[in-house]
């Protein structure tokens, strides 16, 4: 058991650890303070394109908002503040459709959710174009994605409120289709 070898192994481990932590950094960043000018993303609600499929347009900002814990938490706050929860409850739906399932009427990509929030949709979804800033719409879209377990690694387990849906930080998109009825309590 030679010690140099051990030291090297340790260094390797340390490097790996550092890499892992650095990757985690971006999702921990807290962007507060003034934000720069923004532009709305290109929105396309369906992947169906005549003349052959092409990938949905991606927005460079999407990744940041979607994978950042602070932005998702801001989205959670706005989801309550802007009465989204009034129609969509804790994600189970009500006046509006459920968001914790995988039935995405107008597309499940974050850009598409952005579009749905910003533009509104004809069957009852209001438009928040002037009612929320672009940053806030991104935050909301990121939070909505987390409800469906799309980015559970940055989601909070629960809020300080009535227990509703199972902890979101443990959700995965694979759960989305499962509809296990709640256990009868009494």
């Amino acid at each position: 058991m030679s010690s140099p070898c051990r030291v090297r192994a340790e260094r390797l481990l340390a490097l790996l650890l550092a890499a892992a932590v650095l990757a985690g950094c971006e999702r921990e960043k807290r962007h507060i303070g003034p934000s720069g000018p923004e532009a709305a993303p290109v929105i396309q609600t369906t992947p169906f394109v005549p003349g052959g499929a092409q990938p949905l347009p991606k927005d460079p900002r999407a990744e940041f908002y979607e994978n950042n814990a602070f932005e998702v938490a801001q989205g959670a706050r706005l989801f309550r503040w802007y009465n989204c929860s009034g129609c969509h409850s804790n994600g189970g739906g009500g006046m509006g459709p459920a968001l914790i399932d995988d039935q995405w009427i107008y597309g499940s990509e974050i850009e598409q959710i952005y579009g749905t929030i910003q533009q509104g949709r004809p069957n009852g979804m209001p438009s928040f174009r002037d009612k929320a800033t672009e940053e806030q719409i991104w935050q909301l879209a990121a939070y909505v994605r987390s409800l469906a377990g799309k980015n559970s690694q940055v989601a909070s387990s629960r809020s300080d409120a009535m227990a509703g849906i199972p902890p979101r930080n443990q959700a995965s998109p694979a759960d989305a289709g499962k509809e296990t009825p709640p256990k009868r309590l009494r």
């Binding site: 009465n83 189970g92 739906g93 009868r184």
Partner: protein, 612 residues
């Protein structure tokens, strides 16, 4: 035939029959030739025209058909005659109307109106009318996009659309006669109630108590659709049409501008008190009776005070709209106990003398008997498990709320019974003058509530509460019971696993009909509650069954099957049952419904096999 004996009994000072007869006569007179066809039917009574021209059957809202071909003895052989698909998948709460030889069916959003020709085999479609309401109105309808029915008046079928319009359609041709826009969906207003026509005035009220709307009732000229009067249910007296004639029985309802002064600031402007339920009419006293919805938001901390005139009942003059009296079932409502349930107008012997009363199974769990001339509460008895209040003080008329069950900001208050939908929601009960029992569908559910600050943002929900419902004591979520209002007690009850969300129908044959949310249409013995017959329909039943005499003289029973409504929106809107707070908490109680039924919309018409 037992009916001869039984039929005479209510005529002794009861007062119900004469009024029904008046109504029936006036309609019969108007219908002319059609009425003659009906009158010629061998089995009909002279005062039972065999039609169903308004959802409650009559102004007294008894939902009683005197037709008596179907009896406990033969109901077991009841079988479907024809069915009709509405093509919708939302909850159907409406009653089909039968006028002469035509049946009218109004569907939930997009509010199609179908006319079916009953004279032909299989009742083919005569015409259809599509009012094309704004699709966005679906986004402001709190509890599924239902419609509770149409009303027939002088050759017109009149009904409301989800996006806040009242439409009159020519009953023969299906052509639109007039339409009037009454509600603004950008404020969250929708209309789901069935209108009532009284003295040529179409009475309509708004929905949206969960959206911060201000409740009102309005009267339209039935011929033109022009607004005759409009009375708000909150705000200063001039808006509420309170004048010198207003003489409420209880002191707490007397005073200047209580509709504004029992609210902080301008909260009354967004305070609810909508009219989305039932209206009754007493031609003798010439008063209409209707209930007002819950105050908004649900979070009671944001609206300290009695919150007049929500969660109560108004008596108004149908011509002018002027209020005569008011009684508040649930002052400062804390649990969404809307007071929009049906008012069954009866003459009952109370304290040894006959009194003109309203029998009102109320959402807060008490069955009230109220003097309909004065507004005095004669009795109020709990008809299900109630712990949200300790009773009703008959001296002051006030409900005594239970301290421990009052919502606290940010805290989950547990085990509040009945839950927000009440001991009995909109689904109307039926009164049989033969058994002198009220047949009422009810729910047995409790809830956990957590209130939070509600934000008024026009066009979005204004609730401020999270709710999680579940079965009450015993584990059954529904009840169907017979209640004797004179003796103030329950006579029998049937426990149902799922909430009973359909209306009741009772007939001269002493049979009671109702449907369940998993699709069973049931017939019970009106005297014992014994299950006599049942039929599984395609979807869950949350509508109002009716009975009529067909052109062939036979008695038919019709019901629409199509699950939905607040209780069934988990199925009709495909909600996720993993969230017990979904649909304002109802999904907590009916999360298993998706395993038991699917959305749909089908009319079922049943009859006994033709006599050989």
């Amino acid at each position: 035939m037992p009916h001869g004996r039984v039929f005479h009994r209510p005529q002794k000072g009861d007062g119900v029959q004469p009024r029904v007869r008046t109504t029936a006569r006036s309609i019969a007179g108007l219908l002319g030739a059609l009425a003659l066809v009906i009158a010629s039917s061998a089995t009909a009574r002279a005062d039972e025209d065999g039609q169903w021209t308004m959802p409650a059957k009559n102004y007294a809202s008894t939902r009683y058909s005197a037709l008596n071909q179907i009896t406990p003895a033969n109901v077991a052989s009841l079988r479907p005659e024809f069915t009709f698909s509405t093509g919708t998948t939302k909850g159907i709460e409406a009653a089909p109307l039968v006028v002469g030889a035509t049946m009218y069916v109004v569907t939930p959003y997009p509010n199609y109106l179908f006319a079916l020709d009953l004279t032909k085999p299989g009742a083919p479609l005569k015409w259809r009318y599509a009012p094309r309401p704004v699709p966005a109105s679906q986004g402001v309808a709190c509890c599924d996009v239902v419609n509770r029915g149409a009303v027939f008046w002088r050759g017109k079928v009149i009904f409301n659309t989800l996006d806040g319009q009242t439409v009159a359609v020519n009953a023969d041709t299906g052509k639109e006669v007039w339409r009037t826009r009454l509600g603004d969906i950008n404020k969250g207003e929708t209309i789901t109630m069935a209108p009532l026509v009284v003295k040529g005035k179409v009475l309509v009220g708004n929905s949206g108590g969960e959206m911060g709307v201000r409740g009102w009732i309005t009267a339209l000229n039935a011929d033109t659709g022009a607004v005759a009067w409009k009375a708000f249910n909150t705000g200063p007296d001039r808006d509420v049409l309170i004048g010198p004639d207003f003489k409420p029985f209880y002191a707490s309802d007397r005073g200047q501008d209580l509709g504004a002064r029992t609210w902080p600031g301008e909260a009354w402007k967004i305070g609810g008190g909508t009219v989305w339920g039932w209206i009754s009419y007493d031609p003798e006293l010439d008063l209409i009776y209707y209930g007002t919805g819950n105050p908004g938001p649900w979070n009671p901390d944001q609206r300290p005070g009695d919150n007049k005139w929500t969660a109560g009942i108004f008596a108004r003059d149908p011509d002018t709209g002027k209020a005569r009296w008011f009684y508040q079932f649930t002052p400062h409502d804390q649990h969404d106990y809307d007071a929009i349930n049906e008012n069954v107008l009866l003459d009952l012997p109370i304290g040894g003398k006959a009194r003109k009363v309203i029998v009102r199974p109320e959402r807060n769990g008490y069955l009230y008997v109220i003097d309909r001339a004065s507004g005095e509460v004669l009795s109020a008895d709990p008809f299900v498990h109630v712990n949200s209040s300790e009773g009703v003080d008959l001296k002051t008329g006030r409900l005594i709320p239970t301290k421990a069950k009052e919502p606290k900001l940010g805290k989950v208050v547990r085990d509040i019974c009945p839950s927000a939908n009440g001991a009995k929601d909109w689904m109307p009960s039926a009164w049989s003058p033969r058994t002198r029992l009220l047949y009422l569908p009810a729910t047995n559910m409790c809830m956990d509530v957590q209130t939070a600050e509600a934000n008024y943002i026009a066009g979005t929900p204004y609730v401020g509460a999270e709710v999680r419902m579940y079965a009450g004591p015993g584990g059954h979520r529904g009840l169907f019971m017979a209640w004797d209002p004179a003796r103030r007690k329950k006579v029998w009850e049937v426990q149902e696993d799922l909430p009973v969300w359909s209306g009741a129908l009772t007939t001269g044959g002493d049979v009671v009909f109702y449907g369940t949310m998993d699709g069973w249409f049931k017939a019970l013995d009106a005297r014992t509650g014994k299950l006599l017959w049942s039929f599984k329909t395609s979807s869950g039943i949350i509508s109002q069954p009716v009975s009529y005499r067909g052109p062939d003289g036979r008695q038919y029973v019709a019901v629409l099957s199509g699950v939905g409504g607040w209780a069934g929106v988990v199925v009709s809107a495909d909600l996720d049952p993993r969230d017990p707070t979904a649909a304002l908490g109802f999904v907590g109680a009916t999360g298993d419904l998706k395993q038991k039924t699917t959305p749909g919309g089908t009319l079922y018409v049943f009859a006994l096999p033709r006599a050989r």
